[in-house]
Symmetry: C2
Subunit: 350 residues, 2 copies
C-alpha cells in the first residue's frame, strides 16, 4: 500500500555531494561552487550544465560543510524559559522581524526556566551551532556568566529583572525590564487605594527572578508602613495552576487579604478562577493585580503591567546583529520599565 520499503531504502542512500555534481557535470568542484553561488567567472554554458546536474542529483548543499569553511551559520537562537506564557510571543516576533531582514534564520530553544536549560543553550552557541544567542534567563548564577564568557560568538541576555548584572563587567549586552519596579508599583498601587492586607503569589521558589519580585513586594510593604505577614505569601509555581491553588489558599483564610498581588499574570488568572470557583467576586470581594499584560487580562479586566516584550525583542536583536556585523564595541545595558494598566480588578477601594 504505502511504498514504505522502497522509499526507506532510497532514503538511506547518501545525499549527493558537490563532488557528485562536479563529476556528473564533468567539471571541478570549485567551478560547481562558483556556479551555484554566482561568484567569480563561469561560462553560461558550463553553468547550465552544472545546474542540470545538480537538479538531476537532487543536490542540496550540506550546511555543516559550508559552516566549517565560512565560519558562520547565519542562524540566531532565541532561548525562552516557557512556551506556555504568551509574553514571549512578542519577543519572538520582535526578534524574528529584525534578523530576517538581515538574512538570518531564527531557531527557538526552550529552557524550562532552569539553569541547566539555559546552560544548554549557551553550549549550543559555544559549539557554534548558531552565530548568536538571545537568552531570556531566569537564573543569575556565576556559572552562567562563566559559560557565556567562553563563547566566541555574541550573546544578548534578556532579563526579567532589576539591575543584578550591572557593573559586573559582563561580556555581553543586556536588555532588561525592571520587574522589581513592576511588583513594587503594584503593591504601592494597592496600598494607595487603601489595602493593608495584601497577599502575594510568589512563583517558584529558588528561581532568581522570582526572588527579586518577592523582594520588591517586601520593600513596597515596608515603604508603605505595612507589616509583613508570612502567611500571606504563597510560593508554588509561576503557572496558572500555581495561582489557582494560591488563590484558593489565601481566599479561604479566616483573616484573608483584601487584595492579592500576583508575581505574574498566569498566577493572577489562576487566582481569579479560584476566587470565582469559591463564589467570590473580583474586585467585589478581593482586589487583584498581575504582571505581563496577557491578552486574557484585558478580557477579564485584571490590572497588569505592559512588559514591552516586542520592543525588548527588537532591541535585543538589534544589539546582537550589530555585534555580529562587528560594528558595536562596548557592551550596553538597556532598561525598560513596566507600565501599569489599571483595570477593574483593582478599582475596588475599601
Amino acid at each position: 500500500m504505502q511504498d514504505g520499503g522502497k522509499k526507506a531504502k532510497e532514503m538511506t542512500n547518501r545525499q549527493a555531494s558537490i563532488t557528485d555534481v562536479a563529476r556528473l557535470a564533468g567539471v571541478s568542484v570549485g567551478t560547481v561552487s562558483h556556479a551555484l553561488n554566482s561568484v567569480g567567472y563561469v561560462k553560461q554554458e558550463t553553468k547550465e550544465k552544472i545546474l542540470k546536474a545538480a537538479e538531476e542529483l537532487n543536490y542540496v548543499p550540506n550546511r555543516a560543510g559550508r559552516i566549517l569553511k565560512t565560519r558562520q551559520t547565519r542562524l540566531v537562537m532565541l532561548a525562552i524559559p516557557d512556551t506556555s506564557n504568551e509574553i514571549y510571543f512578542g519577543m519572538i516576533e520582535g526578534v524574528q522581524k529584525e534578523i530576517k531582514a538581515l538574512g538570518y534564520s531564527l531557531l527557538l530553544y526552550y529552557t524550562n526556566g532552569e539553569l541547566e536549560g539555559e546552560l544548554d543553550a549557551v553550549r549550543l552557541l559555544q559549539e557554534r551551532v548558531v552565530d548568536g544567542l538571545i537568552l531570556v534567563h531566569f537564573s543569575y548564577k556565576q556559572v552562567l556568566l562563566d559559560e557565556i564568557r567562553r563563547c566566541s560568538g555574541p550573546a544578548v541576555l534578556l532579563g526579567m529583572c532589576n539591575h543584578l548584572w550591572a557593573g559586573a563587567g559582563h561580556p555581553f549586552d543586556t536588555v532588561s525590564i525592571d520587574v522589581y519596579s513592576g511588583i513594587y508599583t503594584a503593591v504601592q498601587h494597592l496600598a494607595k487605594i487603601g489595602h493593608r492586607k495584601i497577599g502575594y503569589l510568589a512563583g517558584r521558589r529558588n528561581v532568581d527572578v522570582y526572588g527579586q519580585r518577592f523582594a520588591a513586594y517586601r520593600d513596597a510593604l515596608k515603604d508603605a508602613g505595612i507589616p509583613y505577614r508570612e502567611e500571606y505569601v504563597y510560593w508554588n509555581d509561576w503557572t496558572q495552576m500555581g495561582g489557582y491553588s494560591g488563590g484558593r489558599t489565601l481566599y479561604q483564610m479566616k483573616d484573608r487579604p483584601t487584595a492579592i498581588c500576583a508575581s505574574n499574570d498566569l498566577q493572577a488568572i489562576g487566582c481569579w478562577e479560584a476566587v470565582r470557583d469559591l463564589g467570590g467576586k473580583v474586585p467585589g470581594d478581593i482586589a487583584l493585580t498581575g504582571l505581563d499584560n496577557l491578552n486574557i487580562c484585558k478580557i477579564l479586566g485584571i490590572t497588569s503591567f505592559d512588559m514591552k516584550e516586542n520592543l525588548m525583542g527588537t532591541e535585543a536583536a538589534r544589539h546582537l546583529m550589530s555585534r555580529l556585523s562587528g560594528s558595536q564595541m562596548s557592551y550596553q545595558d538597556l532598561y525598560f520599565r513596566p507600565e501599569i494598566q489599571v483595570r477593574d480588578s483593582s478599582l475596588y477601594t475599601l
Copy 2:
C-alpha cells in the same frame, strides 16, 4: 566602565580547536579526540594532560566539524505555524519529553503558517542542520511534498486536517487530528439543540486547513438540512483579532445568527469579547463554539474540542525516533479525533 573594548577584541580571537589542544598537550589530535570522548586506549596521565590543556584553552568542540564527520547532528526540529496559539505548547512538551530521553535536543522553528516558512523548515532538514523534522503544517501543496521527498533525513507531518495525504504514497509518517470532524460535530451539536441560523468564523482564506474546516461547516449544514447563507460566513484571520471583528460583524446583522461556530478558539474568544462589548451575553444572546480547548475557554465556559496535542507530539516524536534509529520501515498515518467539551456557551437552546 564596562571593559567592552578589550573583551570584544578578545572575543574575535579564533576559538581554540582540537589542534590547539593537541599542540599544547604535546600529543596528536587523534589522541585528544579519544581522550575527550573516552574512546579506545589512552593513558591516565596523558588524559589528564589533555584535559588540563583543554581547560586552559577553553576548548569546546566545534559542532560543524563533528557533524561533518559523524553525519549526525543529534538535533530534532519541531516547526510550528504560530507561536501565539497555546495549542502547540502541548505538542512541544510531548516532543521534548520523547526525544530528550534519547539524547537529542529540540529546536523550534516558526513557520507563520505560510508555505514559504514550511519550505524553509524542510530546507533546513535537507541541509542537514537537524537529523529529523516534525512539521506542523497548514499547507497541502504538492511542492511541499516534493521538497520533503528530496530530504535524506526523516520527516513527520503533524496535521490539523482530515485525510488529504492519505494514500498519496508520501515518503513520511503523518500524525493528524481530524479537524474536519471537529467542525462538523460542532455544527451538528448546534443544530441538534435547535439552531438554524449558524454563523461561521472561517479563519484565513487560502490556507488549506481552513478550507477543510469550511467544507466541514458546509457539509454539516447540508446534512442537517440547513440552507447555506454566505453572509453568515466571515473570513479574516485565525487570530483573536480576526474573531473579534467577525463577532462584531455577525452580531450586528439585522437578521443575525443565533449561534456562531468558530474555526478555532482564538477566534471564539475574540468573538466572545465582541459580543460582550456590544452588550450581548453568551449564551444568553448567542451560542458559541470554538476548537482547540484553550485554557481560557475553560475559564470563559466556551464549548470547544480537545485536540490531544500532547499525545500528537508524543506520537510524532516516537515515529521520528524509530525512523532515526532505522528500525521502522513502512510509513504510517495516525489519526486522532477531537473530543467535544460542552460548556455553558452552547447550552442555550432556543
